[in-house]
């Protein structure tokens, strides 16, 4: 495996979370916009959740990638055990 999946995954959610959070901050208090979501600033709150998720994945992914690079990928034999990712 060349690429730890958690890196692109984390990056995508970090960026999406950032976009939503910033947009939520900008539009905070816009009652007409948030009438649909029952007066909750859905962009801001969900943006923060996604941002946290994205950053966690990114940190885990970077650690995984370093781990991968230290041990060049070798195909595992069937039935043998491998530690970590």
């Amino acid at each position: 495996m060349i690429l730890d999946l958690r890196i692109p995954l984390g990056l995508m959610f970090t960026l999406t979370g950032m976009i939503l959070t910033l947009f939520g901050l900008k539009t905070d208090g816009d009652a007409a916009l948030y009438a649909r979501s029952l007066g909750i600033n859905a962009n801001l709150w969900w943006g923060i959740v996604l941002l946290a998720f994205g950053l966690t994945m990114l940190i885990l992914g970077r650690r995984g990638q370093k781990h991968l690079e230290r041990q060049p990928p070798e195909p595992m034999e069937e039935g043998r055990q491998q530690r970590g990712h």
Binding site: L3, P8, L50, E78, G79
Partner: protein, 607 residues
Amino acid sequence: MLNLTYIDWLIMLLYFAFVLGIGFALKRSMKTSKDFFQAGRALPAWICGLAFISANLGAQEVIGMGASGAKYGLETAHFYGIGAIPAMIFVGIFMMPFYYGSKARSVPEFLRMRFDEKTRALNACSFAVMTVFSSGISMYAMARLIQALHVFDGLFHALGLAPEGIFTFSIVLSAAIVLLYIFLGGLTSAIYNEVLQFFLIIAGFLPLVLLGLRNIGGWSGLKASVPMAYMHEWKGVAHASTNPMGIEIIGLGMGLGFVLGSGYWCTDFLVIQTAMASKNMESARRVPLIAAIPKMVFPFLVILPGLLAIGLPTPHTTTTVRTVNRVIYHDTTIVSQQVEQGRGLVPAKINPVTGKPMLTASGQPLLDYDMATPNMLLHFFPTGILGLGLTALLASFMSGMAGNVTAFNTVFTYDLYQSYIRKGASDRHYMAVGRWATVGGILLSIATAYAAINFNNIMDTLQLVFSFVNAPLFATFLLGMFWKRATGHGAFAGLIAGTAAAMLHHGLTLPIEARTGIHGGWITVLHHYPSDMAQNFWGAIFAFGTNFIVAVVVSLVTEARPEAELVGLVHSLTPKPARALIAWWKRPEALAIGVLLGAIAVNIFFY
């Protein structure tokens, strides 16, 4: 009706960029056909596990489960509790050792190893045809939904294009994206993107459920606003007349649990391919079990939006009067007949010719259940998070399509091209064939999507034919893996007889309130079922039973294969793998028991 702003487009574009970026990043690691078709058999179990359920989480699942939630209530969760989870545990614990251990590269190839060439050819051909048509149906459904939601209307208007082009634009866009990332990165790319889509679907649907529940007054509010039978998964299941699906416990357990669920999760290469891509046997066995964990909580995510849509108040045309500076204003909110005749947020189906709502035989408006989940998105999401929700919907369409396309290119290349067209070519040659099979498969899918516009019934007909072919399959695998006496002739005869039995059953029975034709009874009507669901389940039971009996009888009168050839393919002839290296709690069996207990807990909660 739908106002998308730059922020929605930004999120959508970001997703497309990542999907394609993954394809490009993986291109350089595609060196052999094993890398391309089998992801090098080197992926960790958690990635394969999430891809395992994501491959199934296509449009039919997300839209269909929402629709079913609106139509039948929480009983829909049986598709997960009885249909999927036990089958996933079974395939992980008992069947994966043979799929993975036999080193077969595809499910049809396993059939050749266990039985014979003709059984493989039959399965490979029907499977290849089905995957192409399924991805075409998926594309058609997506394009229709995009049209109905007016996603691209603003864009087309701004660019001065005719709105008629939206259907083609949606199809070409999604096909091009899926094609590009599979062409570049093969199965690895498809699996990586399926995991991305998995998280995106959660990110898009979880806030929807939370907002919906908050609006309706939480769980107790939901209970108060839908009929009582909708809120119980098991209560009333003993008799067909006391539950919304109209199916009794035997048909449900046998039909859905034993035949349809297992037939899909244990034999369909679409999902099995992701497990076969993992790095070792223990991982491969853990893949379906890991997949079963999110599957347990998915009823919350995909069924609840539909149920909430039914429970929410139906919008009506209202007039409010207000006085400002002694001027009286009458504010009228006009709601179309389609919405007003519907129930909750589920609109009525409108006859395109008369513009009037279509009625059922008993005079009630026919509801367009497929719009339940999409309408929830539009109702609750403001711009911004709406972009995320729509992207999640698009992602689900694409993940379903991608799974079909990678399954198609593998089966085509290994089981049809390499076996019957050109044997013994170089590995590079087969990899190139796989890439072009991807292109060909997608072009055929596009053709199917267009055929679906011109022939109204083609989708229903295709799905019906698939169900005839799929229903008996599980019996063949069960006999193959657990009965060493089963022979190739037996398997082949059983498959043909099972499919014939499914057709015969469909031709002789009819659900109540349906007309003869596509719904059944095209030979003559011998029996009426309370619902089409009941008809499906019993049809599957008959097909499975016929296959089982015919395969056993024919096997007993034909010559058995020598036992030495069946080592690693049949349970009783395969030595148990050494387990000393792994702590007991890391073994797949321990995980399986945990999943089973979790599934029971969820079922008790929804009783």
